[in-house]
């Protein structure tokens, strides 16, 4: 018995050890230390971290700008998740129906996901602030005559579009995997029964790929909530700090305004929001899973 336990521990360490170690070192420990820091008034310059209770959290809820940007972030997440999942779903559908050159198109859609957020942000910034206004002026498209990045409303959509563009490829791969898990006999049976393509999608493919949908929505929610690099490269929070997503605001709060405690407390609040939203949606959607 004892020998067996030891052997099991050894097996676990062999396979799960490296990732458990990495997870502990870069996620778990920083998270716990971070949580502790929110109860102190720690600061790099003084390095004095005396406990001050919940006053950082009180400050968070008095920081109207943060609450405003948190709401902005939630709107951004909503549209990003909606748009990227819809596009990814239909692209995946199209790319599993046997179009010629499917593999190449898939690779094409997936490529943006391999580009780092910063590069991608600068790329879109160039498009929105130089290329599109140039074309807009040349052909008289009023929509593009001024840069999209200089007013809050259009900069919001610029952010949504750029993020969705990056996410679509990744989600598409998961959807494709989900679709290929739909058993052929069910599909065949449906078409023998005379179901149209749209009916098959709605009544057969959709219910059977709920697990893929759950994963995709979960991933897109958490990635969109924590967007930082695209925000930094695309809008830098501008115009006039109105497009700061929550993460960006937190980094600026801590490192520019030197309010580390409050910044960290805001990060914990953001974590709570993300956790609640993501877990609720996956709980609700999981209920819709069916067996074929």
């Amino acid at each position: 018995m004892k020998k067996n336990t030891l052997k099991n521990v050894g097996t676990f360490l062999l396979f799960g050890g490296p990732s458990t170690f990495a997870f502990t070192a870069v996620v778990l420990i920083p998270f716990i230390v971070g949580l502790y820091l929110t109860f102190t008034n720690w600061d790099v310059a003084t390095n004095d971290g005396s406990l001050i209770g919940f006053s950082n959290y009180v400050d968070v809820f008095h920081d109207k700008i943060y609450l405003g940007q948190l709401w902005f972030t939630i709107k951004y997440v909503f549209f990003t998740v909606l748009i990227s999942n819809l596009i990814a779903f239909f692209v995946a559908l199209a790319l599993t129906s046997g179009i010629k050159g499917e593999q190449w198109i898939r690779t094409g859609f997936f490529t943006p996901n391999l580009i780092g957020g910063i590069v991608l942000g600068y790329l879109w910034q160039m498009l929105f602030s130089q290329v599109l206004p140039y074309l807009g002026e040349k052909y008289g498209w009023t929509l593009f005559e001024t840069s999209w990045l200089t007013s809050t409303g259009s900069a919001f959509w610029a952010l949504v579009i750029a993020t969705s563009w990056q996410l679509v490829g990744y989600l598409m791969i998961i959807y494709i995997a989900g679709f290929s898990g739909v058993p052929h006999d069910v599909l065949e049976a449906a078409s023998i029964d005379g179901a149209k393509r749209s009916t098959i999608v709605k009544k057969v493919i959709l219910p059977l790929s709920v697990p893929a949908i759950v994963i995709c929505i979960f991933i897109s929610i958490s990635r969109a909530f924590l967007t930082y690099d695209i925000n930094l490269a695309l809008t830098k929070g501008g115009p006039f700090n109105s497009t700061e997503l929550a993460s960006y605001h937190i980094v600026k709060k801590a490192f520019l305004s030197n309010q580390y405690g409050i910044g960290q407390a805001e990060a914990v609040v953001l974590f709570a929001v993300v956790a609640i939203v993501a877990l609720t949606q996956s709980y609700l959607l999981k209920k819709m899973e069916v067996e074929s």
Binding site: N8, K252, N258
Partner: protein, 453 residues
């Protein structure tokens, strides 16, 4: 069930291991503090290998510094210097702070004066070398670099900013030679702008980024109050306490009246916040705008352009219609970056080696050539062996040599986020989202949030 237990056990063991590992790290990674006392004897034998790290916030010249480190290593084989680069306009302060917080600070740091002030306890007091550098530098250069009266950072570059002009464009518009001294008041500038616009060129390029509007333009408000940095600091304190009404402050209202003028004649009128620094600079250099609110650092972009205009100059931003008011004849001038030596985790040998390197950097011909010709910066030193190629900084130097430099040292004492926060307000004003009163309210509210800090 059994499996779960094993998993838990495994995680626990890992936690224990990682904690142990962290402890042992903490014991070994901090030798400077424990060695500080025992290192005296090592100094006698000299030529001990010293490794220095150099934290650089002037990211655009990273490669020039690396070349310098190599040359210095050839001259002094026992000293190796390693660059800790930062991204241009990226997370520089974040990186610096994390190095400090993890007890592995860079030996030498090239930082904004304000950052050094913020972490002043972490840096070496260079009082002993003050007299030496006072003799080397131009009058006032060391005074301008003092932070709370302490000499913590060695100045190595100086910058000036104001309204840059493209000589060809201005002269074509007025049909004769342009004398920059002829613009003494706001009305003079308005008349000139009107002429330039009538000639078919955009009169002025107003860069819409928050750093330009918040730190450089609005920042003049604090420096214009008086010629003394101390009384300017007192003014900012009064702002924080809510005792200053900006709408009744002649310097602020004068500055903003000129801003209205710049907005009216702005080349980027259609979409003022695009703020593409390279494009704005290039358009100015190619003559698409006659004036440009910017500083001599923009030479880094302009200098290498093909087919650009050849002659450029600078005038101060006129802030009133009375030619003798402070600021109408003075160009804003500062030493934005200082070289500081760490005193929180470096050994005395490292500090000595760092001092020797810095002196070599600013006095040797090699160092000066690199700074002046390759980086295109001007040095606030008396004897600079090389002639710079930066026409704009030559123009700034003329103002400085004639005693017409405005000391903007007060900005070193402002909170680190002032440019971002007040810059955002200036952007709103620029696009007409708020009016003058709205701007005053936002700026005053920002300063009041720092009351007592």
């Amino acid at each position: 069930m059994n499996f779960k237990k094993n998993v838990v056990l495994g995680i626990c063991m890992l936690l224990v291991f990682s904690v142990l590992a962290a402890c042992s790290n903490a014991n070994t990674s901090n030798p400077p503090a424990s060695n500080a006392g025992g290192s005296e004897e090592g100094q006698g034998s000299a030529k001990k290998d010293v490794k220095l790290t150099f934290f650089n916030t002037s990211a655009e010249v990273n490669t020039v510094f690396e070349e310098l480190f190599k040359s210095y290593h050839e001259l002094n084989p026992n000293v190796t210097i390693e660059l800790i680069p930062t991204p241009i306009g990226g997370a520089q302060l974040e990186k610096f702070q994390s190095l400090l917080a993890s007890n592995s600070p860079a030996t030498i740091a090239n930082l904004d004066a304000g950052t050094i002030l913020q972490f002043k306890d972490k840096f070496l007091d260079l009082e002993a070398d003050k007299a030496k550098y006072e003799a080397l530098t131009k009058p006032g250069a060391i005074d301008g670099a003092l932070l709370d009266g302490k000499f913590l950072g060695i100045p190595w570059t100086a910058q000036g900013y104001g309204l840059l002009y493209n000589k060809r464009v201005v002269e074509e518009a007025i049909g004769g030679t342009f004398d920059p001294a002829s613009i003494k008041t706001r009305d003079d500038l308005a008349a000139l702008f009107a002429k330039i616009e009538a000639a078919g060129t955009a009169p002025v390029m107003l860069h819409g980024a928050d750093w330009s509007l918040g730190a450089h333009y609005l920042g003049l408000t604090y420096s214009l109050q008086s010629e003394s940095v101390d009384s300017n600091r007192a003014f900012v304190e009064e702002l924080k306490n809510g005792n200053v009404k900006l709408s009744e402050n002649p310097q602020f209202t004068g500055l903003m009246d000129t801003f209205d003028l710049l907005i009216k004649y702005n080349a980027r009128k259609k979409d003022p916040l695009v703020a593409d620094y390279n494009k704005d600079s290039a358009d100015f250099a190619n003559g698409n705008a006659a004036f440009y609110f910017m500083g001599d650092w923009t030479w880094a972009v302009i200098g290498g352009l093909e087919g650009r205009d050849q002659e450029f100059g600078i005038i101060p931003v006129p802030v009133s219609n009375n030619a003798s008011d402070y600021g109408n004849a003075q160009v804003a001038y500062s030493e934005p970056k200082l070289l500081a030596i760490d005193n929180s985790g470096s050994t005395p040998e490292q500090q000595e080696a760092a001092k020797a390197f810095l002196e070599w950097l600013v006095t040797s011909e090699k160092g000066q050539t690199a700074i002046v010709s390759e980086m295109g910066l001007s040095m606030p030193y008396k004897e600079v062996a090389v002639q710079g190629s930066n026409i704009i900084s030559e123009a700034v130097t003329q103002y400085v040599d004639n005693g017409n430099a405005m000391n903007i040292g007060v900005i070193n004492y402002l909170p680190q986020d002032y440019w971002a926060k007040t810059g955002a307000s200036m952007q709103k004003y620029l696009v007409g989202k708020i009016d003058r009163q709205g701007l005053v309210d936002e700026i005053e509210a920002y300063w009041k949030s720092y009351a007592g800090k």
